[in-house]
Structure formats: C-alpha cells, structure tokens
C-alpha cells in the first residue's frame, strides 16, 4: 500500500485569497462555496488538515523575519529545554526521522544555533546543545511564536484554542 506524509512546512502561495475570473459573471462550477462537501465535513481528518495548513502558514509568516520553520522551532525548543540530548532522542520525541534530523541539524549548525558534541559516555552519539547565539535567538523565536499563538486564538477563539489543546494533549 502506498501512503504519504504529513509534512511540516509549506510555501506561502502568492495569489492566496482573492482570485478573479476572466469575466465578472460567475459560472456554475465557479461558486466554490456552494459546492457540496458531503460527508467530508464530518471527517476530523479533513478539518484537521485544513486547520494545519492555516496554522503552519501563519507560523511561517510570523517567523519569516527570522527564517525559522515549525520543525526547526520544535528542534531548537527541545534542545534548549534538554541540553545534551542525542539525535535519536530528539527524533523520537518529535516524531522526526533520524535521517531527516541530520539535515535539520546540519542547517541549524551552519547557522551557529546548535552544536553537536561527541558524547564521551557513548561515542556513537552526539550531545546536542544550543550555542550562545542559539540561546539568545531562541528567546526571540519564542516571542514570535507566542505572537503566532495569539493569531490562532484570534482565529478560533481563546477558549476554543485552550479546549483544542486539552483535547489533543494526549498526542504530546
């Protein structure tokens, strides 16, 4: 069986939002808001997918100035809160492929935000730490991320956001 993945980042469409047709008169297939979604509306997966699309776009837009994606942010946050973690541990915790994490860390290391230090207790693994600059930067990232969360609260409502987090808390 073939299947695909819920990725973490996304490009921001340029012509998102308003779109105009050649003419002014809408044709049958055009008024998309009237298109029946049938059972699809009752599917949690569909609702969640659309919501995630929105939420990631807003995150990326809000953190665009510092060029940090949701995935990068999650990696930095975990390392910042748990210095010395191995790559495997981070990958497992965040549900990222360890092969994928290699590239993520390469990028973050190039930007001097993270450093890999060979563990002396287990010389196979790397102890991950934030650099001094990484620590400072992460503080700023968190401020921007908090701003993004406020956008979410504005979008779905403060109480709804908290309710949502409560409902999904089981997925850590």
């Amino acid at each position: 069986m073939s299947n695909r993945a819920t990725q973490a980042t996304l490009k921001i469409p340029k012509n998102s939002g308003a779109k105009r047709r050649a003419g002014g008169k809408p044709r049958p297939t055009d008024n998309s808001s009237a298109i029946e979604l049938d059972g699809l509306l009752g599917h949690a997966g569909y609702a969640v997918r659309r919501f995630q699309l929105w939420i990631f776009q807003d995150f990326i837009r809000t953190l665009a100035a510092v060029d940090i994606t949701p995935t990068q942010y999650s990696v930095l946050t975990v390392i910042g809160a748990n210095p010395g973690l191995s790559q495997m541990a981070v990958a497992q915790r965040l549900g990222i492929e360890r092969a994928r994490l290699v590239h993520l860390l390469d990028s973050l290391e190039d930007r001097k935000l993270v450093k890999r230090i060979r563990s002396r207790t287990d010389r196979r693994s790397h102890a991950l730490h934030l650099t001094a600059q990484g620590t400072v930067s992460l503080r700023q990232f968190k401020l921007l991320a908090a701003e993004h969360e406020r956008h979410v609260a504005e979008k779905i409502g403060k109480e709804n956001r908290e309710q949502l987090l409560r409902i999904l808390s089981g997925f850590t």
Copy 2:
C-alpha cells in the same frame, strides 16, 4: 523565505510502537517520555501536527484494503456529491494544486473510478463524474471511512471529537 507544506498522506512506519534497545537498562537520553517539551506543549501547531499524523495513519490503515488515501477519498467524495464539476473547482474546494489534481485524477481514472468528460459549454474544462464502478466503490469507501471516524472517537472521546469538529468548522 522558505517554507514547506502540510501534505496529505504518509507511509506507515513498520517498527512503529514498541522499540527495544540493545540493553535493558535505560540510559539518560533514552526515556523519551521524560524529555521536557517546554513551551512546545502550549503550541496548537505542534499538537495538531501530531494529531494529524495519527489520524492519517489510521485512515490509511483502515482503508488499506481498498488502497485509498485521504486525498483520493476527498476527491471522490466531492465529485460524487457534485457531478460535473471542473478540475479547477475541485482543486479550489479542496485546497489542492490544480497541477497536483491532474495526477490524482489520472490515477483514479486508471482505476476506473472517475471519468473526465469534455464540457460543451466550456471546452477548456472537464466535467468530472464517477463511473458506475466508482459510485459503487465510494459507498464501500465511506463505510470504511466511517469506521476510521469511530477510531478517532475512541481515541479522543466522542464528545471531544464533536467539539473538535465544531471548533474547526470554520476551515471547511
């Protein structure tokens, strides 16, 4: 700025779930459940991402026998509920790139579930319809999808699921 996308499908990991280490004694970096997630837990995006991961995996697993992904299911559902729709209309409605929809329809057409019919009113566009077989198959898909929804309800609770759908209803 670079960003990425929230995709629709995912492969099911083989060794998901239980994993054993070389030894029996847990080492510091190993007990992943104790790893601090810091502010990450308060982020809707992270919770939603993890939830979507779970939900798509379950959908794919539940519909594995018929080899239908969430995206394919959404396309079939919309066409089934709105026969004659153009590709643009479907793409817009589901938030799929029209270039991407071309391949999706190619696949569904190969499997004799969907047919493209040139519209006479607008000879640029294709009117999309389910085949007879597609109509029959979709009925079965819907049964399996309903089973998947029951899994969701079991996982997060019946009331929580409904609450979730209510909260996210604005994202259509």
